[in-house]
Assembly symmetry: C2
Homo-oligomer: 407 residues x 2
């Protein structure tokens, strides 16, 4: 089994995928704000959606679509600048119009197109502009437009997030997975949206794709934390068109299934980490490894609680080897903890053992933290549960950006 990331990878790197973009003028000027992504043939689909009870119209549309049809999907359209959230019945109608406009322009059957929206909430969707953009984009579809698509869906992101990798399945076929994501980490200006799509040319059944996605998400998008807020629009979609011609993957406990899951997880981790790296106000990318927990769930709980703590994150901004805040976060995480067994390391340097601080060199420890990529290791000393979570530090720009009066 081999997994290899590809240079300039994007959602159109897998075979049988084309993209196009358009400048609709929804909110931004002089830039593309609509991306259309189309498969040459029908796709299996799986998705995870925001757990927020306030769900935007496109999220509700996609959830309903997926429940009706998880095997014959063809396209995805994404717009930036308007989230189509808190827009009432007009927003519901706009969501349907977006999907039908794609299907009409491309002569696809109804119920074959997913939609995603990101941007300001509570503002009516300028649906005429979007429909015009869809017609225009439909005439420009090309496999070369994957990177342009990743740029078109950006809002406050400072750079596009895209990747692709190749997996040689044990049965012999090489399959490719590609993807893009948007999310600026810090949420701006209303609620952020984390949107991501993964495409592949592998043949995977909808049921296997759903299980694989949930496992991959647990180790990627659900293992990052910026500020703990969950948006109304968060969506991660995976579409598999089978153009690679591999024997259909119907289970993950097969050599091909396991290889596909490994590739999907690696791609999702790459995209999720790209979101964290682009967190507004962030100056460091932080990896938090917890091991020795009673079980994996406890390890994840401790790691995500450390990652969410404003006190830990401000200390990291200041390169302060403040083990007390990390220990404190573990203590209130809800995970089983015996303080006398905890070991903590900052940047590989042991700073706490058996519940007591070691006589470490604070200046040297601060130097280990005063770098762009920081690691915190915690061993709870109770069992074999382990988890890794990624986060960023918490710098003054977070407040500057998020306190700004909306213009």
């Amino acid at each position: 089994m081999s997994t290899e990331f590809l240079a300039e990878g994007s959602p159109t790197t897998p075979d049988g995928w084309r993209a196009a973009t358009w400048a609709c003028g929804i909110k931004y000027k002089d830039r593309d704000d609509l991306a259309l992504l189309v498969s040459d043939g029908p796709c299996s689909a799986a998705a995870v959606f925001t757990t927020n009870k306030v769900k935007a119209a496109p999220v509700r549309y996609d959830m309903a679509l997926l429940s009706r049809n998880a095997a014959g999907l063809r396209a995805l359209v994404v717009n930036a600048g308007n989230a189509n959230a808190c827009t009432g019945p007009d927003g519901e109608a706009a969501a349907l119009v977006m999907a039908r406009a794609v299907e009409t322009a491309l002569s696809l059957p109804a119920d074959t197109t997913f939609i995603m929206s990101t941007g300001t909430i509570g503002v009516p969707m300028p649906i005429a502009k979007v429909v015009t953009g869809i017609s225009g984009a439909a005439a420009r579809l090309d496999p070369a437009n994957g990177l342009a698509a990743a740029r078109a869906i950006m809002t406050t992101d400072t750079r596009p997030k895209h990747a692709a990798l190749r997996v040689v399945l044990p049965s012999g076929t090489t399959v490719t997975l590609g993807g893009m994501a948007k999310g600026s980490g810090m949420i701006h200006p209303n609620m952020a949206t984390l949107l991501s799509v993964v495409t592949t040319d592998a043949a995977v059944s909808p049921a296997a794709l759903d299980v694989a996605l949930r496992q991959a998400v647990a180790l990627s998008f659900n293992s990052i934390s910026i500020d703990g807020d969950t948006s109304t629009n968060d969506t991660l979609l995976v579409l598999a068109n089978g153009v690679a011609g591999n024997p259909l993957i119907e289970r993950l406990d097969t050599p091909d299934g396991a290889a596909f899951l490994t590739g999907l997880t690696a791609l999702c981790q790459h995209l999720a980490q790209a979101v964290v790296r682009d967190g507004e106000g962030a100056t460091r990318f932080v990896t938090i490894n917890v091991r020795g927990a009673r079980d994996a769930a406890d390890a994840k709980l401790a790691a995500i609680t450390i990652a969410k703590s404003p006190l830990v994150k401000t200390a990291l901004y200041g390169a302060d080897p403040n083990w007390g805040r990390v220990l404190c976060a573990i203590g209130y995480s809800g995970a089983d903890v015996d303080p006398d067994r905890v070991v903590l390391l900052f940047g590989g340097m042991r700073v706490l053992e058996g519940g007591l601080p070691l006589p470490f060199d604070e200046r040297a420890a601060s130097d280990l933290l005063n770098v762009p990529e920081v690691t915190i290791d915690a061993d709870l000393g109770l069992g074999t549960g382990a988890a890794t979570v990624w986060t960023c530090d918490f710098g003054p720009d977070y407040i500057t950006i998020n306190a700004e009066y909306r213009t």
Copy 2:
């Protein structure tokens, strides 16, 4: 029934209470850092402690003491500058020595003294200095020293927090409750500590006192949020010496019990709000009222989630009438929500109704938020559950203070 706050109230305002302070030089120079509070007679006691699994030595000492003895307590000693947390067996010994030093100096029986510590963690307790201070303070006990005690327990607090109020019990006796608290809201430099003690001259049984304290805490100290971190040392203690001579309160479902509970709740709310008002980096005191929830627990969940959201708090700092962030927080709080029924008001101005933003004047709404005391009202439109929570905004000083390298 009447409840009346008293000017310059403190823990020595109730009858039969004396205090003294001392400058031990534990960490701070040229200021008192030890407070001793003593009752003329034995007290009923009740307390709530941090839920953090990493508990400081004084917390563990007090929990054990309270389980042995909830009716014959006499004294409390508090030190600032060292939290006696993560200090191992030496810290355990120091906690015991602190209590015994008070009992020896005042010729009290063993197991009659509570202890509290706040300050830096992971640093050995300079117990000799503390014992010297206890001996000195024991010779200076005076009812006039209540305010000095409130000042002596400060760490990064910018002002002392103290209050007292008088309750005329329906049965005729007037009882007095006093108290002090420390807690700078934002946690600095390691983990903050919220410490508070309430004294009273009322006669209340330990069991009734425990029930009353838990009810009062739910509506006061457990209804505030600064940054969601829970420290190793948080303690709230109530001591009732019965000097007022009222008929012993043994139940809260009596006229006297209800009056006492009302007074205790009002005093705890005053002290808890004083902690929020002193939050470092805070520029506004924010009251969040949620009503119309399915039940009271849901209302509390929604209110505390709004209060904890960094996005809501930074918007409040910027006086941004960002209803989307509030609605979003309600949506992910876990409370039952039907977005189409939610009504939101900023400073009394209706900004959202039926899941849709109203065409309000953003400038006028911003002016309503650009004041020191802000109110957010949310009506979930589902039931009769209501809750109020207090918080502060999230200004740049939070990061400046908490990112500072420890000196």
